[in-house]
């Protein structure tokens, strides 16, 4: 938990970021700082620019044909536009809304990233797979059947497998894009548990539609509305005494 201003290390600094898709301004003049080893939750109704912001951080927005942006995102003191794409995306891993496992074996899914980045040694790969699966609390459930197809796992297991797959690349920042939107409460609890654990080593940014989830796991919470940052503060503060009326209305479920 980030308590003392002196201990704070800034991991990501966003300066006056604007994002367009065609003529639609998805994110307006956003500036914020994200600290090392914090779990920052982003809440807000649909079309508030949460996911666009998240996808900006590892430049996945660039896959869209009509995407355009201005402003800067600084990760560890370096503008991400100047970082090599391969290195940036290894450093900032993404977990998607629906579990996106590849229809290959559990082992191959987890080792996919390291293998593609040139790691060939079986022993090293084995170790990475085991560590990554343990970090997402999936190892005990799948250690006997690593060669089975990942598509046979349940939804919650698949999502934790996706987390392992990202961890296998030893990232520093993990971007969660509504990771529990397709999961039942039990699986959700397991994913949240792993997020809380991961926070010790990684900086986590969580986009969520579920305000209760933000309240449960976030150190700080930021509220987006219509592409604008309305309020950012400690989670407890946002949920007990928000400064802005709109934040309060959203949290209380008056709109959204």
């Amino acid at each position: 938990m980030v308590e003392n201003r002196a201990d704070i290390q800034i991991k990501i600094k966003v300066k006056q970021l604007n994002i367009w898709f065609g003529n639609i301004l998805a994110l307006k003049n956003l500036s914020l700082e994200i600290y090392s080893n914090e779990l920052l939750s982003i809440i807000g109704p649909a079309n508030s620019g949460k996911t666009s912001f998240l996808r900006q951080l590892n430049r996945l927005n660039e896959l869209e044909a009509n995407f355009r942006s201005t402003g800067e995102v600084i990760l560890d003191g370096e503008n991400i536009q100047k970082t090599k794409l391969e290195i940036l995306r290894k450093k900032a891993g993404m977990i998607f809304a629906l579990p996106q496992v590849l229809p290959i074996s559990i082992y191959d899914n987890v080792s996919y990233g390291p293998r593609m980045h040139g790691m060939r040694e079986k022993g090293v790969l084995d170790k990475i797979v085991e560590e990554s699966l343990e970090a997402s609390f999936l190892w005990e459930e799948v250690k006997e059947r690593l060669k089975e197809s990942a598509t046979k796992l349940s939804g919650g297991q698949q999502q934790r497998l996706c987390i392992s797959r990202t961890l296998a690349l030893k990232p520093e920042v993990i971007l969660f894009d509504e990771p529990c939107s397709g999961l039942d409460p039990v699986s959700t609890a397991k994913v949240e548990e792993s997020m809380l654990k991961l926070k010790e080593k990684y900086t986590i940014i969580l986009v969520t539609n579920n305000t209760k989830q933000a309240a449960r796991v976030g150190d700080r919470t930021v509220f987006f509305l219509m592409g604008e940052l309305i309020e950012i503060d400690k989670t407890q503060k946002i949920f007990t005494a928000p400064a802005d009326k709109r934040t309060e209305d959203y949290i209380l479920g008056k709109f959204g």
């Binding site: 996945l60 391969e86 995306r89 290894k90 590849l102 996919y112 990233g113 593609m116 197809s149």
Partner: protein, 281 residues
């Protein structure tokens, strides 16, 4: 009228239409098998024709067709698949690529005799390959390119977009993504398209008419610059140019041709279902 009666009528009409689709196939196959099976023998399949092609076998025509088909796929499959990858994975959606797509669709509608004339002009005359297996195979390859490109593009488009997104989000390059996260899952569809195009190449007469097919040759071709006999053209000749030929010989030739095409199609179905079972999402 009661809804159930209406439903019965509707379903009957739909069923009749389905039967009408199958009926000609059954009829054609039935006729060929009925008239041709007596002509089929090991000797018929493996000996040279004799006595102005009224006697003997159709061995050179079978071999010629196999040569043509396999050489044409060597040209058309790599080019077709790579073009499909470019169009589906790299090309931006602009006027040029839309024109290319339109051209591909239109090319598959061009009649095969036009490809034949094109092959004659380009390969036989201009590039001086002569009337040869090479010219014929290239002509067949060009005829099949639209089929292979279309089938491959559909197979690639059928691979979920998320596979690409996942792979790119793990820091892989676009080419790595295509090579490892897209292509392996599109292979069944691509193979099916390829085999179906093979079947088409085996059956077409017009494209080989001016570019490779020989009326009669006493020997098998020795290189890709030789002419060759081929099944569809051979069938055309013995049906129209040679009087007093036994009916069973004609139908047996047709039987072999249809059998080859049919076998390839079955292969396509089997390979697809095998691979799909392994790579399912």
């Amino acid at each position: 009228m009661k809804t159930t009666t209406k439903q019965k009528i509707a379903f009957s009409i739909l069923f009749l239409c389905t039967v009408m689709v199958i009926l000609p196939v059954v009829f054609v196959l039935g006729t060929i098998i009925k008239n041709g099976w007596q002509g089929i023998s090991w000797k018929f399949l493996t000996t040279m024709p004799k006595d102005g092609m009224r006697q003997g076998g159709i061995y050179p025509a079978i071999v010629g067709t196999l040569y043509l088909v396999s050489l044409s796929i060597v040209f058309s499959l790599p080019v077709g698949v790579m073009a499909a990858i470019y169009l589906n994975e790299y090309a931006k959606d602009n006027l040029l690529t839309r024109l290319i797509r339109l051209a591909i669709v239109n090319l598959s509608g061009v009649s095969s005799v036009v490809y034949g004339l094109f092959g004659l002009a380009l390969f036989v005359t201009f590039m001086k390959f002569g009337v040869s297996i090479l010219s014929g195979a290239l002509t067949l390859a060009i005829m099949n390119l639209p089929v292979i490109i279309t089938a491959s593009r559909e197979a690639l488009a059928g691979v979920p977009y998320q596979f690409r997104e996942v792979s790119l989000s793990l820091g892989l390059s676009r080419w790595q993504t295509i090579r490892h996260s897209v292509l392996p899952f599109a292979i069944p569809g691509i193979l099916t398209g390829a085999i179906l195009s093979l079947a088409r190449a085996a059956g077409e007469t017009a494209p080989i008419l001016f570019t490779v097919a020989a009326f009669y040759l006493p020997n098998l071709p020795r290189s890709i610059f030789d002419q060759t006999m081929a099944l569809p053209y051979h069938l055309y000749i013995i049906s129209t140019q040679i009087p007093n030929i036994a009916v069973k010989t004609r139908y047996a030739t047709a039987f072999v041709l249809v059998g080859m095409v049919f076998t390839m199609n079955i292969f396509a179905v089997v390979i697809r279902s095998r691979l799909r079972k392994k790579k399912k999402w």
